[in-house]
Amino acid sequence: MAEDPVGRAAEGRTRRRGGGRGTGSSAVRRSLRRERLLGAIVEVTAREGYAAVTLASVTDAAGVSRRSFYECFADKDACFLAALKEQQEQLLAGIRRAVVREPERAAQIAVERLVAFASSTPATARVLLGEAMAAGPDALDARDRAVDEIGALVEAAYDSLDQGTPAPDVSPSVMVGGVCRALAARLHRGDPASPGLGAELIDWLASYERPLAAHCRRGLRPVRLPPAVLGNGIVHLASPDLAERAAGEEVVSWHRARILAAVARLSERRGYAATTVTEIARQAGLSPRAFYRSFADKQEAFAALHEQQFRAIMAVSAGAFFAQQGWPERIWAAGRAFASYLEQNPALARTSFIESYSGDSERLRRVEELVGAFTLFLQEGYEHGARGSAPTAIALDAIATTVFELAYRYIRADRVRELGSLVPHSAFISLAPFLGPEDADRFLAAQIESLAQ
């Protein structure tokens, strides 16, 4: 039986067509049907995106009856969760075995295994690393737990080593989560995750290396800093209550603004999946018909909100970035402003970091593009090339997604107000690949020092 669920479902279909009930007891048969369903849901998700997956499409793909489905799973979500866990177990087992053999390469092994997974079974990898994050809170929990488990394996390996061993001074679970996102983005774009990518990411990790005893970033110890002052040029997103009745063609654009504000409010309270067009319209003080004049469906409205929120975050970051001279200073300022803005706008933080990851594959691709947009701030780093080998494109993506992962974790854990205290660590992630870890630390220490005065 193939390990790849996508292949497994296809096999199952052939087998069923081949002849009736097959051999073995009913328990064995049920177990086989279960396997086929797990394969099918991954296959269909890979093809259509999780939101579009229906029970019928899964049972068809598995060649299994609806009744049989319900014998195995309560609903689509439960089936998907089971499929996720199965895949995650496999991945984890492989990493665990390899790390036991080579604990000093624990972080590197995790990355290599993920890249191998993405390059050998891209459709399944796309589902596990990407679509899973759009499949509701339970799937997201499972995803985060799996990432944490890999991180824990790496930490355990580190504990077993001589503390003089060099290792990347980055939180393993944050790094792994970031790499998963970077690989998912690549797969969503249709770029093959070639095995060579592994070498580039290993090289990227090497830029954070220092002896374990000297590690000061991995633990994400909070650093108390005064909040960043956000300039006068910021305009916070419009509140619908203040929008009065407008006339003529302005009406439509005011409606759009009110719909977006309504979507923001509901998204924070109830999440994407649970929000309906009717509710959005009501919250905006409009009829559903008025909604549909502006947006084709809920997904389009959410997409527009997400673009708007991205622009706000990018605007704040860019404003702070360009107010400084010198690239490391710019990264520091942008990181501070970014964290400060999210701290002050926790609803926006939740919506843009968590709820945004929803909808069909095209939506997810756009979300990932926007995360990648922050690599803009890294380009200038090349002019600082102190290191021998400069980061490649995938490394740049990984920096952006790792910083995103860090923020995501804290936002998800309702710890958005702590983001400011992590800025030295997130800035380190951006700076070290260009400046080297020692110079990066020196620079950051100086910044912290000057803020203390």
Partner: protein, 449 residues
């Protein structure tokens, strides 16, 4: 304090270093010194006569007012520049006319930094007439180039871009350098010559020189829903609105009022009272938020810049390769400005009027857009790579294009120039022919995206 002129000097001596200048020349020189030090706004009659060492009545013997003097000096410097340019352009082969101009412009900035700064930088703050004079200066120089090109056989190669815009872009580049007192200005010559060489192709194959807009592109999907506009005044007796929301409402109304006034009256002529009246708030509320007119205006500028940057970035990353990203970025950039002409005006026309203290910020925000070119270095790995000044020059030229459109006061037509801007951007990295090939693909396949 003004020194009374004790010895009126009737002899008109030739201008030159160290020789006794006429009163008129001293006033003009005084104008340059005052303007370079304190900007147009600071170059009052009092300041000028103090520098020149002439009396106020003497000033008015020569000039009707400060503006007349300011404009006269622009004309004067331009005249001197032209006197240097003409022989240089004549001396070179016609196809090198533009290069000859660039050499002279850089040399002028290096050898006469005060004058160059005045013409290229301070003029930007001088209001409509000064801008017109500055633009006129550029156009006259461009005409020198065009006249020489007219003598050429069609097979001769010249940079395939509007000379007027390239020179305008160089004016801006030199404006920044002279304002900062950059001692290495003369090293720019090599960079700029290398830069324009990237655009060279035979005259008959020229596509972009005329700056004729192509058909406007389909709207970018990455533009904001609602063009930025002032929020309406709060309804009376507001029970459910928090103090923070009230403050935000006031702040936004001030920002938009400041922007509108800058567009209609000009920054220099607008007052805090004007802003308050238009925003519908009282002066106390204004000063609770902003220190002065400049503070409010810089906040508007900041807002416009950040939004423009964010919109461009969001669209840029929709592309899958750097050239496509540049295209998508340019599309959103131009269309955003078309939809928000006030921002275009504030950012590109009025921006320098804020005064010397804030101009640094304005320049930084312009320079920021070079960030979209950085990826080109990784993508194309050209040998030799375009230098930093080259990348600045690409951006300043694009800004010159936007500025000149915004100055016309008519509806902005920028997205039809996206192909031209893209050529400007890509050619120094990819080469002129490959750049055209990419643009043709984008025009054919993706303009409806």
């Amino acid at each position: 304090m003004a020194r009374r002129s004790v010895h009126p000097n009737p002899t008109r001596t030739a201008p030159g270093k160290g020789s006794k200048s006429t009163q008129r020349e001293r006033i003009l020189t005084g104008m340059i010194t005052a303007a370079n030090r304190d900007g147009y706004a600071g170059a009052s009659v009092s300041a000028v006569i103090a520098e020149a060492g002439v009396s106020r009545p003497t000033f008015y013997d020569y000039f009707a007012d400060r503006d007349a003097c300011f404009l006269a000096m622009i004309a004067e410097v331009h005249g001197r520049l032209l006197a240097l340019l003409r022989p240089a352009v004549e001396a070179e082969a016609p196809e090198h006319a533009l290069q000859a101009c660039l050499r002279v412009l850089v040399d002028f900035a290096a050898s006469e930094p005060a004058q160059a700064r005045f013409l290229m930088n301070e003029s930007l703050a001088g209001g409509t007439s000064a801008l017109a004079a500055r633009d006129g200066s550029i156009m006259e120089i461009a005409q020198l180039v065009e006249d020489r090109y007219a003598e050429l056989k069609p097979a001769k190669a010249v940079p395939d871009f509007s000379a007027r815009m390239l020179i305008g872009g160089v004016y801006r580049l030199l404006a920044v350098r002279t304002r900062r007192g950059d001692p290495r200005v003369s090293s720019l010559v090599e960079d700029l010559l290398g830069w324009v060489a990237a655009y060279e192709r035979p005259l008959k194959k020229g596509r972009w020189r005329s700056l004729q807009p192509l058909a406007p592109l389909a709207p970018s999907p990455f533009l904001p829903e609602v063009p930025l506009r002032a929020p309406p005044p709060l309804p009376p007796g507001r029970p459910r609105i928090s103090a923070a929301e009230v403050a935000e409402n006031h702040r936004r109304r001030v920002l938009f009022a400041a922007a509108l006034l800058a567009e209609q009256k000009g920054y220099t002529a607008s007052t805090v009272a004007d802003i308050c009246k238009l925003a519908g708030i009282d002066a106390r509320a204004f000063y609770a938020m902003f220190a002065d007119k400049q503070d409010a205006f810089m906040a508007v500028h900041e807002l416009g810049f950040q939004d423009l940057m964010a919109v461009t970035a969001g669209a840029f990353f929709a592309g899958s390769s750097w050239p496509e990203r540049s295209w998508e970025g340019a599309r959103a950039f131009t269309q955003f400005l078309e939809a928000n002409p006030t921002i275009a005006h504030v950012g590109f026309v009025e921006a320098h009027a804020v005064g010397p203290g804030a101009v640094q910020r304005v320049e930084d925000s312009h320079g920021a857009f070079t960030i979209f070119l950085q990826e080109g270095l990784q993508y194309a790995k050209p040998d030799p790579p375009p230098s930093r000044p080259t990348m600045e020059a690409i951006i300043t030229t694009i800004f010159e294009i936007v500025y000149s459109q915004a100055r016309t006061g008519a509806e902005l037509q920028l997205s039809g120039l996206v192909p031209h801007m893209t050529f400007l951007t890509l050619a120094p990295f990819l080469g002129a022919e490959p750049a055209d090939a990419v643009i043709d693909e984008l025009l054919a396949g993706r303009s409806g995206k």
